[in-house]
């Protein structure tokens, strides 16, 4: 193993890791927004809106994320959508992650005992008041861990945007392999950095989960 080489190139990998982190954060934010929208749609009292929510989930969970990225980045210009690679990466992965988060958020909401809403309605709360005072605060606590799982998957999925040449960790590893012919060292370096990002994120999620629980 060429440790010297690894020491020499790792600053460039750090820069690339920073791009991976930015991608992850933006994707997670967009995913959360789409997930909240999707879950609201899935739980709507209007059948058409529920159908749109369900279609969103099956479409984006039912096809490879890579194909979704390709359609957006390479196919987009054909239908007038011009995005640079980073933008396409965030939007493509964010919409994809949102489909998974839709199900996570919906799952947490429907797992709250129906007696909770009833107790609120009995006091005279409206449907919406019962939702935001009673259901959402409880569901939010239940969501932290499974959203953490979504986040873990999403960070790993950012590697896909190497295929549309966003200069993040995976792409950087591939580029240095081209000049060094040391795939083992380069992918190992990238792998270690991914692990650090994912481990730190996992710890943060566990911390948040502990913080929000009621003792």
């Amino acid at each position: 193993m060429d440790i010297d080489l690894m020491m020499r190139v790792y600053p460039f990998f750090l820069t690339a890791a920073w791009t991976t982190i930015q991608l992850s954060v933006l994707t997670a934010l967009l995913g959360l927004a789409m997930g909240a929208l999707g879950a609201s749609a899935r739980l709507s009292r209007f059948a058409l809106v529920r159908f749109i929510g369900a279609a969103y989930v099956s479409l984006f969970r039912g096809t490879p994320a890579l194909i979704q990225l390709f359609i957006l980045y390479f196919g987009g210009p054909q239908i007038g959508i011009q995005l640079d690679a980073f933008e396409a990466g965030v939007i493509g992965l964010g919409i994809n992650a949102g489909a998974y988060m839709t199900e996570t958020i919906r799952g947490a909401i429907i797992s709250i005992d129906k007696g909770q809403r009833e107790a609120g309605r009995t006091l005279g709360l409206s449907q919406w008041q019962a939702t935001y005072k009673i259901i959402l605060p409880q569901a939010a606590r239940l969501m932290v861990r499974p959203l953490g799982v979504n986040l873990n998957m999403l960070i790993k999925a950012t590697a896909l945007v190497a295929a549309i040449s966003v200069v993040e960790l995976t792409y950087t590893a591939q580029r240095y392999i081209g000049s060094t012919y040391k795939p083992f060292e380069m992918f190992l370096l990238a792998g270690v950095l991914y692990m650090i990002i994912i481990y730190a994120t996992g710890r943060a999620v566990a911390w948040l989960d502990r913080r929000v629980q009621i003792t």
Partner: protein, 256 residues
């Protein structure tokens, strides 16, 4: 404005789930300050009837009136929501499984609705919570979360939560059925206290002794109909219907 002379008036209540008819033409009047017990075997429709009163389980036929206003009147969705939220503020409900909000302390459980719906300030709501929790003997646990309370304590907080809205009518659906036997009395004591204050109450219960001691009237329901009703002295001691006798024999034997 209405020809309804009774405080609570249920007229020809009918409820079906698909082809299953759960309430079959039930009529019932309750006067202000009266306490009515509903007894009957499991599945006879007691909860459904009680929950129809505040439209938690809407009837498929018939009318419910409270204090001269029809609860289940037909209105466009938006207007109906507004109407029913106002009606429900006047009716307190206590559930078998308490349904306390686990993410709120006892105090917050009590103050949430008055602050949200009646615009009470934090200070006013706190004072109200202290009063109501004191009344049910829970003042010393005011800042406890429900997870740290026993079943009996939870139910007392749930009663305080309902009372904080200053309801005209209280509905109890087997309020003590989920409690360990030694915790039943503390909840019954609170209900007795309300009886002494002439709160109007409709109580679904399996506790015949308690029903006999606090209620003015007892209804025996079976298979969606009121089989027999009258003062406890009559229904419990000299029931006229075979089905009532049968039920009481099983039930009192089980309790003994």
């Amino acid at each position: 404005m209405s020809d309804k002379d009774h405080f609570v008036e249920i007229r020809h209540a009918q409820k079906s789930y698909g082809s299953l008819e759960v309430l079959k033409d039930i009529s019932l009047n309750v006067e202000r300050g009266q306490i009515v017990a509903i007894i009957g075997p499991s599945g006879s429709g007691k909860s459904t009837l009680l929950r129809a009163i505040n439209d938690l389980d809407p009837l498929t036929g018939g009318e419910v009136w409270l204090d001269g206003v029809q609860v289940n009147k037909s209105l466009p969705h938006r207007q109906y929501e507004k109407h029913i939220n106002e009606m429900r503020q006047q009716v307190g409900m206590v559930f078998q499984h308490f349904n306390l909000f686990p993410h709120m302390t006892a105090r917050e459980n009590v103050t949430m609705a008055p602050m949200l719906l009646k615009g009470l300030s934090k200070a006013e709501a706190d004072k109200l919570a202290e009063e109501q929790l004191d009344k049910v003997g829970m003042l010393d646990r005011i800042d406890y979360y429900p997870s740290r309370l026993s079943g009996g304590q939870k139910q007392r907080v749930a009663i305080a939560r309902a009372l904080a809205m200053k309801p005209k009518l209280m509905l109890f659906d087997e309020a003590t059925s989920a409690l360990d036997p030694e915790l039943v009395d503390e909840v019954n004591m609170v209900m007795k206290k309300l009886a002494e204050e002439h709160m109007t109450m409709i109580i679904v219960t399996h506790e015949m002794d308690f029903a006999a001691s606090v209620c003015d009237r007892v209804l025996f329901m079976d298979q969606g109909v009121v089989v027999e009703e009258g003062p406890p002295s009559v229904v419990f001691k000299n029931p006229t219907k075979d089905r009532t006798r049968e039920f009481l024999r099983k039930h009192l034997a089980g309790a003994a």
